[in-house]
């Protein structure tokens, strides 16, 4: 149940659905490995001044990953990863 803090930018594929409160994260690539999102557990906003971040807690391949979306720059960052036992 150990959380590993990563804090590295990642490539991500997300769907921006009409009317949805936030984009749906489908998959992301980190260190040449692809992680498909199986389930989104929680998405919440985090503001730093005017910058709005959306924090995603998602399940992918027996891992819970926390990703941060900088909505202004459309940048995704993998914040942490936790292996599910």
């Amino acid at each position: 149940m150990m959380q590993h803090f990563v804090n590295e930018p990642v490539d991500a594929l997300a769907i921006y659905r009409r009317g949805a409160p936030h984009p749906l994260l489908c998959t992301f690539r980190w260190k040449d490995q692809r992680y498909d999102v199986k389930e989104t557990h929680l998405v919440h906003r985090k503001n730093t001044g005017e910058t709005i971040h959306r924090i995603y807690s998602v399940d992918c391949d027996q891992r819970t990953c926390v990703l941060r979306l900088d909505a202004d720059r459309a940048q995704w960052t993998l914040e942490s990863m936790e292996l599910l036992s």
Partner: protein, 411 residues
């Protein structure tokens, strides 16, 4: 048409949010703390932990004794505030008059709106379904419905977790007869003991007591108690857009061991003064009375005094200088303190104040406006007072777990 009050209470809120975000915590007894150390206290327990007779505010060491397999999780206040904002946005679609009672509890006046959603029960079911769709299956809410706030809260408490309860007026006499006064919202241990000493144990006893006696014992609150005893509660709902003007603005901080030295505590106090000034400017108030104090030891007495400024201010530095003056007035100058706090009262709206006459004051006002502008754009940590950077551990601890009511802003 009688009033219809809906009380919505999130179940084991902070712990549920953590379990929703981290599935590895689900099904486990968890305790949310400010910092997962033995000196900390537990601010919320998961449902699984509640079986071990633990309570909010319990020291970590005691909680671990009661529940040895308790998993300690560091809390994320911003995360809870954001989830609260999200569920309030959902609730706004159902009721206009919403009172934000705390971060995880609201009252809603659904007198007009319930029928539009198929009645109060159907509305409550729909709200619970919307919550599940938005937040998942772990973050749940219990909903109590009654004619007044007190009974709505009582009904919610009796239907936890994830339940819906409605007060049936036919059941009211039985509820009055079987409900102990201590179960009622607002009746704490001391009032409960005083009522018990007067032979009042249940709500029915309360209703049968003389209003004159209750008023004599408890003042105006006694009449409210009598009203509750009659099965009636007219306490109004204060919607978030009608929040009364603040009487004071303050911040306090429990200090971690590495910051308990008095000089370091003053650095924390400087940061708190800055926060108070920033909040006052945000709220549009200036204040004259500065109260400052500290606590020695974890259960020691609180030492505090106040001073009055020559002119109202919303400037962190002026507030801090007043605090230093106050601290000099306190006869005890301990080596270690466990808590520091500052509050500014005697508030006046900024727009009712004349403009500053002296150039120095105008310059400070412009400086504060510039700093506020930078912080609004780049975040609270973008500009900080130099002295608060001297003690390196401060940045990670300042901010703490306290949520100011104006943290939850709704449009």
């Amino acid at each position: 048409m009688s009033r219809l009050v809906v009380h919505l209470d999130m179940d084991s809120y902070f712990a549920s949010v953590e379990q929703q975000a981290r599935p590895s915590l689900r099904g486990k007894p968890i305790g949310v703390t400010g910092r997962p150390s033995e000196r900390s206290i537990i601010t919320a327990f998961s449902r699984e932990a509640k079986r071990y007779k633990v309570w909010t505010g319990m020291p970590v060491w005691e909680a671990l004794k009661a529940c040895p397999n308790l998993v300690l999780v560091e809390g994320h206040p911003r995360r809870y505030i954001e989830v609260t904002k999200q569920f309030l946005e959902i609730l706004k679609e159902y009721c206009a008059r919403i009172e934000i009672y705390s971060i995880d509890e609201v009252f809603m006046d659904a007198t007009q709106e319930a029928s539009k959603h198929g009645g109060p029960i159907a509305m409550a079911e729909e709200i619970q379904r919307r919550f599940r769709e938005s937040f998942g299956s772990i973050i749940t809410a219990t909903i109590g419905i009654a004619q007044g706030k007190t009974f709505a809260k009582l009904i919610a408490a009796r239907n936890k977790p994830d339940g819906i309860g409605i007060l049936d007026l036919e059941e009211l006499p039985e509820i009055l007869e079987t409900t102990l006064v201590g179960e009622i919202w607002g009746i704490g241990r001391r009032i409960s003991m005083r009522l018990n000493r007067a032979g009042i144990r249940t709500l029915k006893d309360l209703g049968e007591a003389s209003p004159a006696f209750l008023k004599h014992e408890f003042g105006v609150y006694g009449l409210h108690l009598w009203e509750i005893g009659q099965g009636f509660d007219s306490t109004p709902i204060v919607p978030y857009f009608e929040i009364p003007a603040p009487k004071s603005v303050g911040h306090s901080k429990s200090l971690p061991p590495e910051l308990r030295e008095f000089d370091l505590a003053k650095v924390v106090l400087r940061d708190l003064c800055d926060k108070v000034g920033r909040r006052m400017r945000k709220l549009g108030y200036m204040g004259r009375t500065v109260h400052c104090g500290f606590r020695v030891g974890s259960v020691g007495p609180h030492h505090g005094k106040q001073t009055t400024l020559d002119l109202p201010s919303d400037d962190g530095e002026i507030i801090y200088n007043a605090c230093l003056k106050v601290l000099r007035k306190i006869p005890i100058q301990p080596e270690q303190v466990s808590n520091v706090g500052v509050s500014v009262g005697n508030l006046t709206p900024r727009d009712r104040m004349p403009n500053f006459l002296l150039e120095e004051d105008r310059r400070r006002e412009r400086l504060n406006q510039a700093i506020d502008g930078i912080r609004n754009r780049y975040g609270e940590q973008a500009v900080r007072v130099g002295t608060t950077l001297l003690a390196k551990p401060i940045p990670q601890h300042i901010g703490g777990f306290i949520m100011a009511s104006d943290d939850i802003e709704l449009g």
